[in-house]
């Protein structure tokens, strides 16, 4: 952690005083992202929890950002990168430094309403980094299920627990054969920073990073436990940290001993109603997923 702090610039690009909920990992995500991508970056944001710090006046960001709509953050990458290309050719750009383009979006906008837009930008391989902040439901509107809500989870629209599996968005992105796909967690900041740096330094093309983002408000756990819950998701094998460079898979963190999923599930009120059978079912899915990935 100290090594990370020494490596990153001291300059902050994300100010305090933002309207995120206490315990939200979004602040950490944005702070680290700012430090990695720096001053010369442009962000497009979709309607999501993370649109609040960037676009409720006064903004917490010190770099330029564009809020478009619920579904069009990837189109922001497309439009900004297309404009940069033509303005550069015509000599109308003021800066010669590279400008990093990135988008931040929630799981609902990425995997549901904006799926076509995301898929379009990825297929065209437009130049930018897309960061999906996955808190596994529509949290900003009050905890409704999304296609990224996991099996069994309570939300205000799945009162008896979601009966379907979580949509595997990173795998869908891998199927686009883009230069880079990675998963991340704020409990592993060095891992996230390395992955973001890779995406930044690869140059052209569409890069995708999916960040598992525990939500104290929607998942029903105490605010101080965000990092603990994030870490447990990884240690129990429910959230696997990996990266895919041009279709080549690499697991970036392997728990020494994979803990039972129950350790993770019991920390959260949204899973309080699960039976032993439910947990065993989830445990089996974890084993299958690891086998497939290994």
């Amino acid at each position: 952690m100290r090594a990370l702090a020494e490596r990153l610039p001291r300059e902050e690009f994300f100010r305090s005083g933002h309207p995120l909920c206490p315990g939200c990992p979004g602040g950490t995500l944005w702070r680290l992202t700012g430090k990695v991508l720096g001053k010369n970056s442009i962000c497009t944001v979709s309607a999501s929890c993370l649109a609040l710090p960037s676009h409720v006046y006064p903004s917490a960001l010190t770099t330029p950002s564009l809020y478009l709509s619920m579904s069009t953050a990837p189109a922001g990458i497309t439009g900004v990168s297309a404009a940069l290309k033509v303005l550069k050719r015509k000599g109308r750009l003021k800066t010669y430094e590279p400008i990093h383009i990135y988008a931040i979006s929630g799981d609902g906008s990425a995997a549901d309403i904006g799926m076509a837009c995301l898929s379009g930008a990825a297929e065209r391989n437009d130049d930018g980094i897309f960061i999906c902040f996955d808190n596994e439901a529509y949290m900003n509107t009050g905890i409704q299920r999304s296609s990224c809500t996991p099996l069994g989870s309570w939300t205000t629209s799945t009162l008896k627990g979601k009966t379907e599996k979580k949509k595997d968005l990173p795998e869908i992105m891998v199927a686009h054969h883009i230069p880079y796909v990675a998963t991340a967690s704020m409990a592993f900041p060095e891992d996230y920073v390395k992955k973001l740096e890779k995406g930044r330094d690869m140059g052209c093309g569409f890069k995708y990073i999916h960040v598992h983002s525990p939500c104290p408000t929607g998942w029903r756990f105490p605010e101080r436990k965000t990092i603990e819950v994030s870490r447990l998701a990884v240690e129990c094998g429910l959230w696997i940290l990996y990266e895919v460079i041009y279709d080549q898979y690499q697991i970036t963190y392997r728990p020494k001993v994979r803990r039972p999923v129950e350790d993770y599930l019991k920390t959260q009120g949204r899973f309080a109603h699960l039976t032993r059978e439910d947990m065993e079912k989830i445990q089996r899915q974890v084993e299958e997923r690891w086998q497939a990935l290994e």
Binding site: K39, N40, S41, I42, T44, A51, L52, S54, H55, V56, Y57, S59, L61, T62, T63, P64, S65, L66, Y67, L68, S69, S71, T72, P74, A75, G76, I77, T78, G79, V80, A82, A83, L84, K85, V86, L87, R89, K90, R92, K94, T95, I99, A116, C117, S119, G120, E123, R124
Partner: protein, 395 residues
């Protein structure tokens, strides 16, 4: 000056080339597609230095145009019917951010039932999106209006997006003679887009399209758009004059009219029907009949004041339009009635709803409508004010 035969869509593509549009995201839809194809040919041949973006939907097309325009690149897109309705959400973002995007709407009837032919229902459906809307009647007007549209949109008193609307197939796919423009003159008329009101610039970071909470300045933003739309009325006239100074032809700005000084009745229409209606009115006037002609060129801003001064003393106005707000009347009729209501005296206004789904509107049909309106005025007969013309099974 070079002359040649082009379709309406090709004329629009030439306009886009002359205007040196820089980012062009378009999704294919009939009857717009040949416009998009011609632009791609211009880019391929090096005649136009632009980024074409093959987007996966019209919704994304408008989002990309917005993001590019916010970077300071001149953007263009085009669509029709279902595609236009699909991008509806983003239309409000473009105008709310005061981005001078120009779009061609190649008018096509909205499904269901599906029709590939044109009426004005699709563009009139975006009436409240705070876009300037103009209706062109032929290829030359389309070509000229693309460059005028950028000039109007980018004027600091306006800063609103502009939609150039023309009927699909009837105008988009028919060849007509046009006079091509001289690029040097176009460059003299229209300079590079160098905005300072909205710009994504790391040297001057701004957060574009803020989320307003509580009772923040939403109403003030909207009022400024209203002021900009009012300003556009003057700017449209100035640009028309400016265009004439350089290219030697003018269109009349907000509307074109003749014969209104002595007429008892006028035919008011827009789009392709204007050409036929103009002929009908000229022929009737030659016979000594007191009839006039108004072609509404701009629907937004609605030329309320000009229409009041032109039409108030008349006895009758026939509004002939290819659209219907089901449950009310034609959209132009409703607008015109509201504009003239406070005038005393004011004409009787008859609404003829014609040509939906691209049904042909002939010279003879328009002549019958003109004569019907003249008879109604002369005999002071009360008639049904909203009439659907040419519906099978209706007498």
């Amino acid at each position: 000056m070079d002359r040649g035969m082009v379709t309406g869509n090709y004329a629009a593509a030439h306009g886009v080339k002359y205007a040196r549009a820089e980012v062009i995201p378009v999704y294919p839809i009939t009857p717009q597609t040949s416009l998009m194809e011609k632009i791609i040919e211009f880019i391929n041949s090096g005649e136009l230095d632009a980024e074409f973006v093959p987007v996966e939907s019209e919704h994304t097309a408008m989002a990309v145009a917005i993001a590019a325009e916010a970077m300071g690149a001149r953007s263009f897109t085009a669509s029709s019917a279902q595609g236009l309705v699909y991008m509806h959400e983003m239309l409000f973002v473009a105008s709310g951010m005061r981005l001078p995007i120009v779009m061609c709407i190649v008018n096509r009837s909205l499904g269901a039932p599906n029709s590939l032919l044109g009426d004005l229902q699709d563009s009139l459906d975006i009436r409240d999106a705070s876009w300037i809307q103009l209706y062109a009647e032929n290829a030359q007007e389309i070509m000229d209006m693309v460059i005028q549209a950028y000039k109007i949109a980018e004027d600091k008193r306006v800063l609103l997006p502009v939609a150039i609307c023309y009927e699909g197939i009837i105008i988009s796919h028919c060849m007509e003679p046009v006079t091509f423009l001289d690029q040097q003159k176009v460059d003299q008329f229209l300079s590079d887009y160098c905005p300072d009101h909205v710009l994504l610039d790391p040297e001057r970071p701004t957060h574009v399209q803020a989320i307003l909470t509580d009772d923040a300045y939403y109403m003030e933003y909207k009022y400024q758009q209203q002021v900009a739309m009012e300003n556009a009325k003057l700017v449209i006239q100035e640009v028309d004059q400016n265009f004439e100074n350089i290219f030697g032809r003018r269109y009349g700005g907000l509307l074109e009219a003749f014969g209104t000084e002595d007429a008892e009745v006028v035919l008011l229409t827009l789009g392709s029907i204007s050409s036929t209606a103009r002929r009908v009115v000229r022929d009737l006037r030659e016979k000594g009949i007191l009839i006039g002609f108004v072609k509404l060129r701009f629907f937004r801003p609605f030329p309320r004041e000009v229409l009041q001064s032109l039409l108030a003393r008349l006895k009758g106005v026939a509004v002939i339009e290819r659209d219907a707000s089901i449950g009310s009347g034609g959209v132009i009729y409703t607008e015109l009635s509201s504009a003239l209501y406070m005038n005393e005296p004011k004409p009787k206004i008859i609404n003829y709803i014609v040509g939906l789904g691209g049904r042909e509107v002939t010279y003879e049909a328009l002549k019958v409508l003109a004569e019907k309106t003249l008879w109604m005025v002369k005999t002071e007969t009360t008639v049904q004010p909203i009439q659907w013309i040419g519906v099978r099974g209706l007498s």
